[in-house]
Symmetry: C2
Subunit: 256 residues, 2 copies
DNA sequence: CGTGATTTTGATTCTCATCAACATCTGTGG
DNA sequence: CCACAGATGTTGATGAGAATCAAAATCACG
């Protein structure tokens, strides 16, 4: 595949599932070596995307599902009036395009919000492979199920939670996903803008900004633009679970 | 369970997938006859549930996925403070429990809000069967994908829409699902209370009631308690797609 | 026929969106 | 290296929409 005397572009190197350090988070999870080799025969050469490049666009025919290998991908729908409505942010090891299996056509767009790399699995081949690789069918169902659970959580977030709870939930969620990937769960760079966070959480830019400022004042976090340092993760988790202790104003917030 | 000389309880008769009139909407879709026979060997005798009976409860270990055969099932989570948070209403042909595959444990409860009947497919056998029945794996992925799409839609509903738009969306959604099942898409009995509708849509009982009254005044619907008759489906659909034509008050609502 | 549950309607309050202005950052070209 | 422009983020003032609180009306059911 790579001619021996060519200079190798790291981003274009065939990303073998067998060698991938994400294999325990992604489709290959639980497969044996010979099964991994089979899976590799399905997966396509991984692709590098730069900021604002599309993985797929709304309206595209459904051809493949995609695994994020590095970077971060924003999934969104366009409303009838042109505003985007963000459904999620996808990190390494997470799958994109599962919602299109059903309709055969993408109804969302997926685009890189920073330099990312993406593996693709042509769906007809993948489905075929599920018959030859025992664990693959299993893992596909696992990952689809995980997606459903994640959406349930997002749903409950939007339905029942105040602006502060949503932001707390968002930070906690990002924190644990970064940690799972081996990054710091307390200090990280937000890959998305305030506007994107707000859009995702059903809030406005201003509200997001205000509440991050408030959390900063209350010493829950330190933040400066895109950088976040969580100083009191326990408090964020408590905000989440306490929810609306209706009629009981707990004097949590001091300072002025 | 049924001794030979007992009177047969229709609800306890083994519901064969091969004979089921929902087969084109449910797991058996697209399977050939001999495959259907195989699937039937996996599916359990269908079970009748009365109002307020559980299909499964939060905390139960994940054993099987369930297909609604008749009636309607409410899926919800309990918040930390005991209120229920409704994730969805499941009609015949729809699958329940998909979110638990991943964690091995149900985090939601599913209960019948009217007399219903349920088929269950023990998951380990079902997974096994996916290797023997070509179309079954396919159909499982289709149905999971559909679930993801449906949740996306619900999500966008909650995030970006006003109370009126949510109710319009809810009615349109119910209408088309009833129609798909061969019932009237314009005249039906709401199986759930105002409170349950509100909970599902992220609104209060009062708001739901007020807006249904308003739609009645505007002659979009006729409703009396649980009975709904949609008089102007086109208008409901328009409310949905128009969304927030911000800054442009279109004088749609007349009457006073 | 009465009792509790559900639904409807009204008055008030509160959260967050909207509108507006300013501050800060990023990146570009001079 | 600085100046500038556009994008992004912050903060403040005001208002709209739905929640909350309250109470009456209607219904379902024993």
């Amino acid at each position: 595949m790579s001619h021996s005397h060519q200079i190798i572009d790291l981003h274009q190197v065939k990303a073998s599932c067998a060698d991938c350090n994400l294999s325990e988070l992604c489709l290959p999870r639980g497969l044996h070596h010979e099964e991994l080799v089979l899976l590799d025969s399905v997966s396509q050469r991984s692709r590098t995307l730069h900021r604002s490049d599309f993985v797929f666009e709304s309206g595209d025919p459904f051809k493949a599902i995609y695994a994020v290998r590095s970077g971060i991908i924003k999934l969104y729908q366009d409303s009838d009036h042109g505003e985007e409505r963000i459904l999620g942010f996808y990190l390494p090891g997470e799958l994109l395009g599962l919602d299109a299996i059903h309709s055969g056509r993408h109804t969302c767009s997926a685009l890189a919000i920073e330099t990312s790399s993406i593996c693709s699995f042509p769906y007809d081949q993948l489905e075929e492979a599920c018959f030859r690789i025992r664990g693959l069918h299993h893992q596909m169902c696992q990952l689809m199920s995980r997606e459903i659970s994640a959406e349930n959580e997002h749903l409950l977030m939007l339905k029942n939670k105040t602006a502060e709870e949503r932001i707390a939930g968002f930070l906690v969620n990002l924190s644990s996903r970064f940690q799972r990937l081996g990054y710091s769960g307390t200090d990280f760079k937000l890959p998305m803008s305030r506007e994107e966070i707000g859009n995702y959480l059903g809030l406005t830019t201003e509200t997001v900004s205000r509440l991050l400022s408030k959390m900063q004042r209350d010493e829950i976090i330190e933040s400066s633009r895109r950088f976040i340092s969580i100083k009191n993760l326990a408090y964020l988790q408590q905000v989440l679970s306490n929810h609306q202790q209706k009629h009981k104003g707990s004097e949590q917030n001091s300072v002025a």
